[in-house]
Subunit: 161 residues, 4 copies
């Protein structure tokens, strides 16, 4: 009798867990609130750096979710930031790491010609949740490539906090 009750409790527990994980996973995607948090964290980092950035966040389908262009930043960086975010999600990779493979003689030389144009230097970073699932990506452009990457990483990390 006791065993049965214990089994029942465990069973209910599993049911509740699986129910809520199902709920959580329904979209397997970034919410717009999360996208704004990612974007604002990257913007805060840019302000600390003293840089003027374009910051783009895309969702799991590589579609634009949030964007901001800081005053005085390069106009040409609008498209670079968006393409960095898309590239990071297209191949679930830091765009700088991708770029190491696309150099002359590299195994995927000139892949930049696909998907309407890729950007393969640092500044694009996948956004990964606590389950290790890629739920989107962030792209930053306007500073040095190290500053762009640092700001992008700062943004992406917010999801794990």
């Amino acid at each position: 009798m006791k065993n049965l009750k214990t089994q029942l409790s465990i069973c209910i527990l599993f049911f509740v867990i699986s129910f809520f994980s199902a709920q959580a996973q329904i979209s397997n995607d970034l919410t717009h609130e999360e996208a704004m948090e990612v974007l604002l964290a990257a913007k805060k980092k840019a302000e600390d750096q003293g840089t003027k950035m374009n910051i783009a966040v895309v969702d799991a389908g590589a579609n634009l979710k949030a964007f901001i262009r800081m005053d005085g930043s390069y106009l040409g960086s609008i498209d670079v930031a968006i393409k960095k975010a898309k590239t990071a999600r297209y191949f679930d990779i830091d765009t700088g790491k991708l770029g190491e493979l696309t150099q002359p003689g590299g195994i995927i030389y000139n892949i930049e010609h696909s998907n309407g144009g890729l950007i393969t230097f640092p500044g694009g970073v996948p956004i990964i949740d606590e389950n290790g699932t890629v739920i989107g990506a962030i792209g930053v452009s306007g500073g040095s490539i190290d500053q762009d990457r640092e700001a992008a990483q700062t943004g992406a990390k917010v999801i794990l906090e």
Copy 2:
């Protein structure tokens, strides 16, 4: 005692159901097996009609998942079929119904100029699962608009069977 066992059985049943629905819902998206079923059902309908079709299936992110061009069908219908599928998912609507709103004087006249080109006559249909969630879309081009729509609807319905 009997009640407890019954409860346990029901509980396990719920657990199993929620577990599998969780599995199914993880991506909230069409699998490639489902995409192929949708595509082949539309192709079968085209064969019954005696038409030669281009058939495209996109996923929840409006990204291409499966495609076939039947022998002798129009080359120009490749892009039309893909755009019909994308349009149906972009706005979660039968492309023919969208087209009623885009005519001269219509409330969204000339929306076709967005998204790299939309197709707003019949032949694109959202793919909806048993929960009412749009998990993708199908686009068919090559016959009359009525035949295109019929083949697309036949494909989309497979998901509910």
Copy 3:
């Protein structure tokens, strides 16, 4: 002594130039803080309406300044919202009013083919400052055209408050 006077003159010249260029920036263009205020006011209105919107803000140069896509809104509305904002700034006009002129027989029939695609139904509104200068524009897409226009107007008005 002559050197000192020359230095002073150069110094004053720089001051005057920087003063007027500062003026130019202050009055002729949207800041990113203002763009975010416009965007969030439109988002608040969308929440009151119970609609799911894509909201884009462009600056005086018609370049993207801020963007958000609300969860569950149409994927196809990303581009529509951005194009509405650009169209409103390209011609400094409510996109719905522009659309009255682009119908068959209209004086600028099919102008939508220019500029990589225009959107000429309601939802795009110029952002005008207290001097009557157009400093940017907002585009909203996802609800009915009346809801889109209302949300866009609500956003644009924030600049005058």
Copy 4:
């Protein structure tokens, strides 16, 4: 009598023309059934490899004939797979071999800028029939370049079996 001879001549002429044009269709192009066989053989190979691939098949005119994106494969590989197939047919060559010629200093440096974007690393393979005629091509993207090439070759070979 003269009329009859003329009619007979015309009739024979039509027969000859239709015979050769039939021949042309039969031997020079992939059928959709063949395209599906090629695609499914490559997919089977991907499953054996444990990779998640995007697979595209184009016909003799370099136009898309069949496509599948396996679940969980890169979104960016949709376009890469299609461009590999097109590139292989555009120049009737293994895309990896083409890439050896497009490096800096190479004889066709940066040819990737043509045709709306080429992909010139391994994974695209011409489909050749038993007469040595190129009747189409296959492009595979999602694994390592060696896995992509292996899956593409496996697909292309099906036509000779």
